[in-house]
Point group: C2
Chain length 430, copies 2
């Protein structure tokens, strides 16, 4: 992790550039997979399971018996932990519900909006070495609160043709019954187009490898909604003398262990502190099982020594990190100055892993600078807000002139006429 | 407009298919334009203005003098109308502001979210025959309420190199000073990449022709946020005996006059009523200045005679119209059954043109069935919701076990360690 000291403001944008992700040219391969699923449905999914996952899948859908067996395998402490995390995530996302309020914008003109759950949503949950059951909590909980009627999960089977038991356990407690043993681009195609077994959905969520990401991009281009554009995970930490260097180091590493493409950024006005933290990082990394991944992520990472606190916050807003930890004395004050970030952690005890699992906030967040325009996943991601209006005869009498005048100025006469007819009717009736 | 009587449920999806929009293969052309803007900046914009708009543009940015001259040209009734529409739209969108509420999900674990305006947004406003100044109200008002710091408008110049005066007047009263005389794909490129004159923005809004739409799609693919995918405008009306057939006909026509690709759908359980309405349509269309456009839109349009009210609402939810008028006796009741629609108009006096201009709801809405997953533009479209958390020592004592257990189960040891270090510190301190 190299240290950049007092960079000129004009250099910031270049210094903050994310490492270029090698765009494998997957399009041809992914398109072939997706077309096969579109044309052949389930049989293509079974063929790809053999080809890519090395397994013959009899029934694509997870059976009741499999759910039951999965539950039996989970030990009590993990059940308790998942239950507590679920409660917190539910509390935070329940609070995002909005009451419908009718606004009378002009006497007789009443307008309101109502949030309605997207009827059919698909969640992709990666399998492999780190089965991200926490992602089911983060996506499944707001989906159920939103009232999505059909929630579909696709996740790849392991070499035995089974789905990770914690994934099944979490799906079950959330009441998600439709879990399919399908991974990769073929899973995205199945949920986007529908097959004999797998329902077509209206919006797709969830992380994935380059094939999944490429497939999500493709169906998004065709008009299907997706959660957000994807990029490698990242963390920025702003620390001052009040921080605990060993905590900061541990947090940097918790981000770095995600993968070699993860990026961590450290910002401070104190170069001595930076060096102390980096020494702690070097010390702590050695005992990690995923030390290699973490070390390679750290190679892409930078510590910035800045002139002032104002420069720190400006630099961070320019970077727009997915996760931002502010381990500074005035973290409450500085939190009000954050403009671009996915999720912000304040003080010495708010570690990123709390938000990743259990504090209640969502962990599906905008990476790669997308925080400048995108929010993380929330209840909003699973609803559409439909607007309604009811205009009374008095209402159109009050508003009619406005509509007529504007429609005429835009040259849209039928728009005007729709009002004129109504005004005439009311006048004739009286 | 053909009548389809009592269609089988299994046929609905096919019957409701939108007419295929001829996808002109614009990609090559649009890519060339966009690359030129990326490389050459303002000089490319000037060249394209000559080439496409047939005009030499000296200063790309609209000057203060031009704003003043524009204002002088607006007559008082239009000023009053715009003022009233603005007030209503502001009232409705102001009410979408959310107060920050801190949720203590576990004792010592406080989480909240804060809506922050997207710093830089770009609004594309088409010029041409119908200068859509109403779209500036619909996009500019939520942008200013959201607190977007930089609001940029691009709109094509006319043959004299001028921007429509109502467009300038509306921009000015909203406090939007950066209006540029640039249209088409080159405008989208300018706002996406930035030029010497035009700032690069983080999110793009607004309707446009096929070049604009294609350019928006392209920059969206590159990661830039856009308001929503585009498609031709549409209206569905559900009418029963309590409707006024001449109002319904006028509303159908107000949608149809938008363009020959507009689609209108009429739904009723009463075939006699349908015929009466279509006769009214045939009568009213003749006097419209845009009768040709309207007639050609009506050719693509369908009236459905259904068996029951339940079938009507199910059909409409399957169609997912951009605009839906419910001119039925129990419109309040049926409004609660709407799942897929952009904006809904209830009763005989709620004409679509009210929502297009002045009632307060937004007129930028999901077309082409996108209402199944997308909302219309609202205050949400101009903010990111950043989540925050502050965990106290007590908080991490309460939550630590949960995080440690879940991180371990996902095999992410550094995530666990970030908590363990904190728990140990607290224990050692006590």
């Amino acid at each position: 992790m190299k240290i950049i000291s007092k960079p000129l403001r004009s250099e910031w944008i270049n210094l903050l550039k994310r490492p270029e992700i090698e765009q494998l040219s997957l399009e041809t391969e992914v398109t072939a997979i997706m077309n096969a699923v579109k044309l052949e449905g389930d049989s293509a999914l079974r063929r790809f399971a053999e080809q890519f996952d090395g397994v013959k899948v009899e029934s694509l859908q997870v059976s009741l018996a499999e759910f039951q067996q999965a539950e039996d395998k989970i030990e009590l402490p993990l059940k308790i932990a998942i239950h507590q995390a679920r409660t917190n995530i539910e509390r935070f996302h329940q609070a995002q519900r909005e009451e419908t309020r009718i606004i009378e914008t002009t006497p007789g003109v009443r307008c309101w909006s109502r949030a309605v759950g997207i009827e059919k949503v698909g969640l992709y949950i990666p399998g492999g070495s780190a089965p991200l059951f926490s992602t089911i909590l983060m996506l499944g909980i707001p989906a159920t609160i939103a009232g999505c009627k059909e929630i579909v999960i696709c996740t790849p089977p392991d070499a035995k043709g089974e789905v990770n038991h914690v994934i099944l356990y979490v799906a079950r407690i959330l009441g998600i019954k439709k879990v399919f043993k399908v991974g990769g681009a073929q899973a995205i195609a199945a949920m986007a187009y529908g097959t004999e077994s797998i329902p077509k959905v209206y919006k797709l969520f969830g992380p994935g490898n380059q094939y999944v990401t490429s497939a999500k991009k493709m169906v998004n281009r065709e008009g299907l909604a997706i959660d957000m554009p994807a990029g490698p995970s990242e963390l920025a930490i702003w620390a001052d003398e009040t921080c605990n260097p060993s905590f900061v180091a541990a947090d940097l590493l918790s981000q770095a262990e995600h993968g070699s493409d993860s990026q961590v950024v450290l910002v401070s006005t104190n170069e001595k502190l930076i060096k102390k933290i980096l020494a702690e990082v070097a010390h702590q990394v050695e005992i990690l099982p995923r030390a290699d991944l973490a070390k390679s992520a750290l190679e892409n990472s930078v510590a910035f020594c800045m002139n002032s606190n104002d420069d720190c916050i400006d630099l961070l807003n320019e970077y727009a990190p997915e996760h931002l930890i502010i381990a500074c004395e005035d973290s409450d004050y500085w939190s009000t100055k954050v403009i671009n970030a996915g999720s912000v952690f304040l003080g010495n005890y708010s570690c990123e892993s709390a938000g990743d699992y259990a504090s209640g906030t969502n962990h599906t967040l905008p990476t790669n600078g997308f925080a400048k325009a995108y929010s993380g996943v929330s209840l909003d991601s699973f609803v559409k807000k439909i607007t309604f209006q009811r205009i009374s005869a008095d209402g159109i009498l009050n508003l009619g002139f406005v509509i007529e005048t504007m429609a005429e100025a835009e040259g849209l006469w039928a728009h005007k006429n729709a009002v004129t007819l109504r005004l005439n009717k009311i006048k004739n009736d009286n």
